[in-house]
Subunit: 292 residues, 2 copies
């Protein structure tokens, strides 16, 4: 297992973590600058943050600084109520693949979607099996395009508390079943993003990480589960502040040969987004060494 | 599958559902009276509500009204940091078994506990595997006692969002693995409580309900998953107000021969606990017919 205690060369910052500084939105170039200043070598930006600045501008900035992208957030949201919706999702995912390629991302992270309409507060139906079937098909279609573009797709199983509105793929096992069906030869074109926040509770986690193996472990995300958690979406904790045995899980991932970045992804309306972004980044660096 | 549309003979009220009326605590005898008045034939009371009135008084009241108890809430909380804590948990579970027996409950529901201290906001450790081992052992010890008392134990897998602080048994599969180890002969002394709120998202749900079979399906709880859910514990929805396909799940349970009550268990600080308890009960009756 790699020793993270001496430096932060394997730290990546998911840019949502410092999306806000003292409650105010931070433009992506400022985030990049703050990361570079601290010797952070990798980021994982969100599409809306990239779009706000312009893809080519961000691409140039990233390349000028020699930054790596541990991933690109995000494709997915494959479910819909009609053909037009499914088609729109497919086209949007093609664009996401193109953007990820332009930025030189290691993978496009997929948050697959839940019951259509649920995220807007009114689910169009209650058939989660149907949503899962649409997700299967959506990933299959996107994979064809991503293969040609040589952009690996990383399915991110989301915590079951997001099954209704964000992602109906909720366990590593489910995600790996999809990988196996679409890519039995393990070509590296499709795999999983393991986010400890989503999967730490799973009694099958160690077993499924072993099942994934190096070729399907495309990304590793960290933050922490707080007790109590006061918001289902935006109360994620800094590594070390919660109950997840992050190092143990990293050990399982690295035992399979994973050699990539440990990407910090924290959504925190009440705490970290209220602090100065520099303080948040400094804390990420410190906790990367002591708690990851 | 039973037809619930014409009457509410298979409705049971978990007394937490009307724990408060217009925000004010309701004594258990008042809850019982309100249920009896409406022709509700079964309840499932909580230990604290029983203790506030006195066990023998509640027992007499229940028997005088010919009420059934679809379950008794709850035993469990098996995890601890030392021997004294484990012993205290064991003794408390023996008392819970005795109370359930005295009240004539169909089963004692077990919420098994999470990382010790987490519910109080500060977990003593992060080793969920250790907590799970303690739970295994705690159930085994309690089962010896419960067998002698002829009180079936119903392990309730809780939603993974409670893995840290309330229950580290989070899937039907996990609960059934424990049942299989402790009772390979399927004697009916140990099984599961299937609460749709906790398990609706599980891709293995149908399969695991079939695995459980009639002898291990000891209780069936209903409420609904709201989108958005604003609180991890106390924002459960009334059946029909959320995204769970309750009837489909009831179909799976009844296909195994389950013939028991459909128990409504809603924790709702912001909505149902603010309404008049009679209105909440009337709505339970209506939704039992139309949405369960």
């Amino acid at each position: 297992m790699r020793d993270f205690s001496q430096d932060h060369r394997w730290l990546s910052i998911n840019t949502a973590t410092v999306r806000k500084s003292r409650g105010v939105e931070v433009p992506l170039p400022d985030i990049i600058e703050a990361c570079v200043k601290r010797g952070i070598r990798a980021i994982s930006p969100w599409r809306d943050q990239v779009a706000a600045v312009g893809l080519s501008k961000v691409s140039k900035l990233v390349k000028a600084h020699g930054l790596e992208l541990s991933g690109y957030c995000r494709g997915g949201m494959f479910t819909a109520t009609d053909e037009a919706g499914l088609k729109a999702a497919h086209e949007d995912n093609r664009r996401a693949v193109d953007e990820a390629f332009e930025l030189g991302a290691k993978c496009l992270v997929l948050v697959v979607g839940g019951l259509p309409g649920a995220l807007q507060g009114k689910a169009a139906h209650k058939n989660i099996a149907l949503a899962r079937a649409q997700v299967d098909e959506g990933i299959e279609r996107t994979l064809e395009y991503a293969r040609a573009a040589r952009m690996p797709l990383a399915i991110e199983p989301l915590h079951p508390m997001y099954a209704a509105d964000r992602a109906c793929v909720n366990t590593m096992e489910q995600a790996l079943d999809i990988c196996e069906r679409l890519d039995p030869g393990r070509t590296g074109t499709i795999g999983v993003a393991v986010d400890v926040y989503h999967v730490w509770w799973d009694p099958r986690l160690e077993q499924q990480i072993a099942r994934a193996g190096k070729l399907r472990l495309l990304a590793f995300h960290v933050c922490d589960w707080l007790t109590p958690t006061t918001d289902l979406l935006n109360d994620r904790g800094m590594m070390g502040d919660g109950v997840i045995d992050i190092r143990r899980i990293r050990g399982w991932v690295e035992a399979q040969g994973f050699e990539g970045y440990s990407e910090v992804e924290i959504f925190s309306t009440g705490n970290w987004w209220q602090r100065e972004a520099g303080e948040t980044l400094d804390t990420c660096i410190e906790r990367h060494k002591t708690a990851v």
